[in-house]
Amino acid sequence: VSSIDQLLARAELIKGHRVPTDVTPTSYGRGRCACACESDDEYAYSCAPATTRPDSDATDPADPATGAAASHLHVLCEAVINRTAAAALTDLVTETLPAPHGARLVGCILHLTDDHTSARMWWQYAAGAGDNSAGYLLYLQHLSQGETAIADWWLDQTGFESRAQEDKAVNGGGIRLTSGAWPAADLAIILRVLSYMIDPDAPARREEVVSTVVDYVVSAVAAGIAANPGELIPLPPDFAEHLNLILAPVPRPGAIPRRTTRPRVLVGDWLEPPTPRAR
């Protein structure tokens, strides 16, 4: 524990630091900023530039960018799940808190099961802890809901190229590769191609272990919310233990060598404490 002097020395605030106004307040269940600091007429106080002002919350279904973002998000979530489900969740920060890349995966799983609010919370945690891909997922999610200002803000946070540059690069007829920054245009094109190839209505084909993890995470998050309704990203305390049970190769001394698939664990089992499989 630090002494008071150390704590006071470390408590200095960053000068002039300004947290942007929450531009999607309704989705967080919070009211608008009470002091109306967003106005910019002549008899108002000095005000923020127009870019930080809130958009309308309404989604415009006619906007093609909204629909494209939704399908890109779907494709990206599928890709994240298929590529990382088997490995990302074994790395835990605390016993119930996955590392940022694990949180990104949980967000993707929840998004595909239509729990968009929880998905956003998990991605926000991951993005806040430096996971740029989660920031990009948030960018797509906000864009798919027509919230362009906060979408741009998240894209900015990822360190990928800004959307304006991206549009310029795409509309200019070619992809511009800049050194240092990840070209967001590339990512957009890849996602566009993939979303043409994948039928969003067709059932997803996943490996058995992946779908096992997906099923477990969904039920674990539901159990976590039921146990701790106040928490934003709750998980049951035995989350890690169960995952290890699912993911670890099962030692079978007397097993038939030909069988390589892992035993399937039923969803209901995971909500019970793990019991050693005797006999």
Partner: protein, 308 residues
């Protein structure tokens, strides 16, 4: 908490306070409940001016050319948010500076969820000449604005709230400038007006103390000097949140001192000028705060250990 550290904000009973005696007629009724923070911003100075003017309600009715129930409702903040026409007439009858009053009125109208077109329509209906800002008010605002903004930003991290509260406080001071000049210590008076505006907008913790949690994420140390792993970062943030919560629970003078002196990193002499107290008193507040924080911190750690 030693009573020694309490500096009286008002050393004499305030002669302009509408609730104090010494004026003709019936005592004015208090401001009705549910009047917003911004609305009070211009309503309280107007009530003080009315009280100080020695006018009766009937005289004010004649001067402002509106009916008695309308004026009475306006002075109590009852009913719908008042239009600028009636508000400005009352303000003019009481000799209030109209320029800051209009800003306060428009700001409160936004808080009352009035549409921008409604506000613009009201404002256009009343032509207004710019008011001349008193030179000493301008000097005070120039001198204190930066420190005030830093203090406000510790509590109001999001958006431009901090800047708005500072502007608003200077406008309220402008509206009551005579009273400020008559007070024994202008800086202290300004500080008490300002900090009240900040704290009534600050978010509160369940125990009622101001919430400094968001500020705990804005420390310079958090930017990563020497913090490499995620776990260290978590620990640092958690430690800072606990510490900032403890700061929020301090008595008000020690809390202000810690925020200005350590969070905003202002020199002691500047803190004294901003708070309107003597330098040795700032030292005393600081020591007092450290002692409380230390006790608070030890208590938390000890409980933590016994729980384990």
């Amino acid at each position: 908490v030693s009573p020694y550290f309490d500096v009286p904000d008002q050393e004499q009973p305030d002669p302009l306070d509408p609730e104090s005696g010494g004026r003709r007629g019936r005592r004015p009724e208090p401001i009705s409940e549910g009047v917003g923070v911004a609305h009070r911003g211009w309503l309280e100075p107007i009530r003080r001016r009315f009280s100080a003017s020695g006018l009766t309600l009937d005289e004010l009715v004649v001067l402002s050319n509106y009916s008695k129930p309308q004026i009475s409702k306006l002075l109590r903040g009852k009913g719908l948010y008042p239009r600028w026409e009636i508000t400005s007439n009352v303000g003019r009858a009481l000799g209030a500076p109209m320029w800051p009053m209009r800003r306060l009125w428009a700001n409160a109208a936004r808080e009352a969820d009035k549409k921008q077109s409604w506000i613009a329509g009201c404002v256009e209906a009343v032509p207004l000449q710019p008011s001349v800002q008193p030179l000493d008010h301008r000097a005070l605002a120039h001198d204190l604005r930066e420190a005030y903004t830093e203090y406000a930003r510790a509590f109001l991290t999001v958006g431009d709230c901090a800047d708005l509260v500072v502007d608003e406080s200077f406008d309220i001071l402008w509206m009551m400038w005579d009273q400020a000049l008559n007070s024994p210590n202008v800086s202290r008076h300004a500080w008490s007006v300002f900090r009240e505006r900040v704290l009534c907008r600050a978010r509160r913790l369940p125990d009622g103390s101001p919430d400094l949690t968001l500020a705990a994420f804005n420390t310079k140390a958090e930017l990563g000097h020497g913090i490499d792993s995620d776990l260290d970062r978590f620990q640092h943030v958690q430690e800072m949140i606990d510490f900032f919560t403890a700061i929020g629970r301090l008595p008000h003078n020690p809390m202000d001192t810690v925020v200005l002196r350590h969070l905003c990193k202002l020199p002691e002499a500047v803190v004294a000028r901003v708070m309107g107290v003597q330098v040795p008193l700032v030292t005393a507040f600081d020591l007092h705060a450290r002692r409380i924080l230390e006790a608070d911190l030890n208590e938390t750690t000890n409980t933590g250990e016994t729980e384990l």
